[in-house]
Amino acid sequence: MNDHEPFIFQTEHRLITLTGRRARNLNELLDHIIQVSGSSIFYHTHNQYLSHHFEKPVFHNDFAGWASAALLEECLSEKLVAIDLLAFSSIRQLREAIITIIEEHLAGAKGRVRDCLPGYEFHFCESKSFIMPSGVVAGDIPDFFAAMPKVTNASLYFHFFEARLRLEQPTNDFSAWLSYRGAPRLAEAINKLNPYLMTLEELREAIILLGNMEG
């Protein structure tokens, strides 16, 4: 990237793939978490943010939601909810953190695991993601913030969530570009936003607000 390069808003189209893997209890869940693709781990820790963008998810990831709703394992669920997704720079690390929490819980349970009721099994999915230019391009920083209201949720989601963790980049794409364009303070301010604590609409508004404050 050079310091004149425009920001090309990409968008992500996801086709959800069903893996056919299902878990009835924590042992089975753990086995699958160890074996599934990184795409599946990403899907189950991030899907809620895109699908229910108007409502802050009750559970930050599907594993936590299932532990509570299907297994009534509230303590485990709380620990899984408390995983700070921003603390990880790769899905491998995130997967290990989830595994550690479940293994510790199982060790404490001393072999007592319960099956969920039939019909409440955990089904592992993953996504096949097609990333392509959305058609929105920003030539400079004012353009960038002017474009922000026109950018779709899917695009916002890609640049903020997917690029950082699934493509293992050190920051979100917006902050990376703003740094190159000589706006390190703005880049840092956007990097400090925690997208996991807000809806996509709130994230968009927060970014626009930071742009307005800067000038």
């Binding site: 996801r14 793939t17 893996t19 056919g20 693709s37 409502e55 089904h123 096949k128 097609f130 990333i131």
Partner: protein, 411 residues
């Protein structure tokens, strides 16, 4: 005038339509053949009616063909449908022969060319026997809840399913142990169709009155085919429990489908159960009653969809889109649509449905909040524009079979 993508800009925003056009450039001029069993009635026909013209607008050569079948064949496939939903059905060798013979007859007559072929549900599934003579990928698009299928029927169909290049299900719960890729595509509704578009309040009032409903009193409604799996008798039980505490009316309305010979029988049972209560209104609606259905839902206070089994439950989507609080059975695709307590309520019994209806009848704020969330949920996830995108992605997926992340440049 047929609807165009520009018409949808007002609903989903121009940016979403622009993304669709961008995506379409990657698959334009390809042909996509859809095959199902009925041109009218049922969710599949409704979806294809809308999707095919929009695909044409995007310069995708979309075809929609319907297989032929007599009453005996549709009797068999209805039994298959019920059995795949987990209901006990008597399936005889003769019935399997009827299916095989009908498949052979259709194979003689049908044009099965195209760059991708999507076969909907079990009725035409056997056409895949032609797969070896074509170069296109074949997709079996199953709209049915097959989470707990009758093994006899599933084992009969599985050799056909195994011949497909991919399958598509509506819910993660429906995934099977299959060697080919399985995708999830949720169905969708068309916000601009007669069944879903905005209506004048006067028209809504007129339709309610035509059905003998009093607009001044709460109306509880279930719009569904008369089918045991939709539990209309359970809805009547729930209504009776509500009625003990709150004045209300019940409307059970639905159409028939060409491929559903059981409907008449169930309608009769429902009419008998309702015969001693003037506040229960049962209406068998003829085909092309979409505007009327739209008005009936918009004029309702609460919408039920108390299914016992459900593929997806488009009637739930339609009611959520109209901002109605929905009480749904916690089965199939209803669980995808109703986030319990956020976009509606999920229940497991007539008693549960009655409890939630009483709660909603006593709180207009709660009705409004659930309705608003429901509409936003549908806008993001279950409109035809998303479905259109998924079909194009499905076409693209076969060009990148191994990759989980596909980076594409502008086309």
């Amino acid at each position: 005038m047929p609807l165009t993508l520009r018409d949808y800009e007002k609903v989903v925003g121009p940016e979403v339509i622009e993304e669709i056009r961008t995506l379409a450039r990657h698959v334009r001029h390809k042909s996509l053949r859809n095959i199902n069993s009925t041109p009218v009635g049922g969710g599949v026909a409704e979806i294809l009616t809308r999707l095919v013209p929009l695909l044409h607008e995007l310069e995708i050569n979309a075809f929609w063909d319907v297989i032929k079948g007599d009453d005996a064949f549709y009797g068999v496939t209805k039994a298959f449908h019920n059995a795949l939903h987990g209901k006990k059905e008597k399936i005889t060798e003769e019935m399997l022969d009827i299916y095989r013979e009908n498949t052979a007859m259709n194979l003689k007559d049908m044009d099965l060319t195209g760059d991708a072929i999507i076969v909907h549900d079990p009725q035409p599934a056997g056409l895949v026997l032609r797969r070896p003579q074509t170069a296109a990928p074949w997709v079996w698009r199953c709209h049915i809840d097959v989470s707990n299928p009758d093994p006899l029927v599933w084992n009969f169909l599985k050799p056909y399913v195994d011949k497909y290049d991919a399958t598509v299900f509506s819910m993660p719960d429906f995934a099977q142990q299959l060697s080919a890729p399985q995708f999830m595509i949720a169905p969708s509704i068309d916000p601009l169709s007669d069944k879903n578009k905005e209506l004048e309040p006067d028209y809504i009032l007129k339709v309610l009155e035509e059905h003998g409903l009093d607009p001044e009193r709460p109306v509880l409604t279930q719009i569904s085919r008369f089918d045991r799996l939709k539990d209309p008798l359970g809805v009547i039980s729930a209504y009776r429990l509500v009625k003990k505490n709150r004045d209300c009316q019940l409307l059970l309305a639905g159409g028939g489908a060409n491929d559903d010979p059981e409907g008449e029988l169930v309608l009769k049972e429902v009419e008998e159960a309702a015969s001693n209560d003037p506040d229960i209104h049962v209406a068998l609606l003829p085909p092309f009653s979409d505007l009327e259905i739209n008005a009936l839902v918009r004029g309702s206070t609460i919408v039920f969809q108390k299914s016992i089994r459900e593929g997806f439950g488009l009637t739930v989507t339609e009611a959520l889109w109209k901002g109605k609080p929905v009480i749904g059975g916690a089965v199939g695709g209803i669980k995808l649509q109703i986030m319990n307590g956020i976009t509606g309520f999920l229940v497991h019994s007539p008693e549960g449905a009655a409890n939630r209806a009483l709660e909603l009848l006593s709180s207009p704020d709660l009705r409004e909040k659930l309705g608003e969330n429901g509409r936003r949920h549908v806008k993001q996830n279950f409109l035809i524009t998303r479905h259109l995108k998924d079909y194009m992605l499905l076409m693209l997926a076969f060009s990148y079979p191994k990759q989980r992340i596909v980076r594409m440049s502008a086309a």
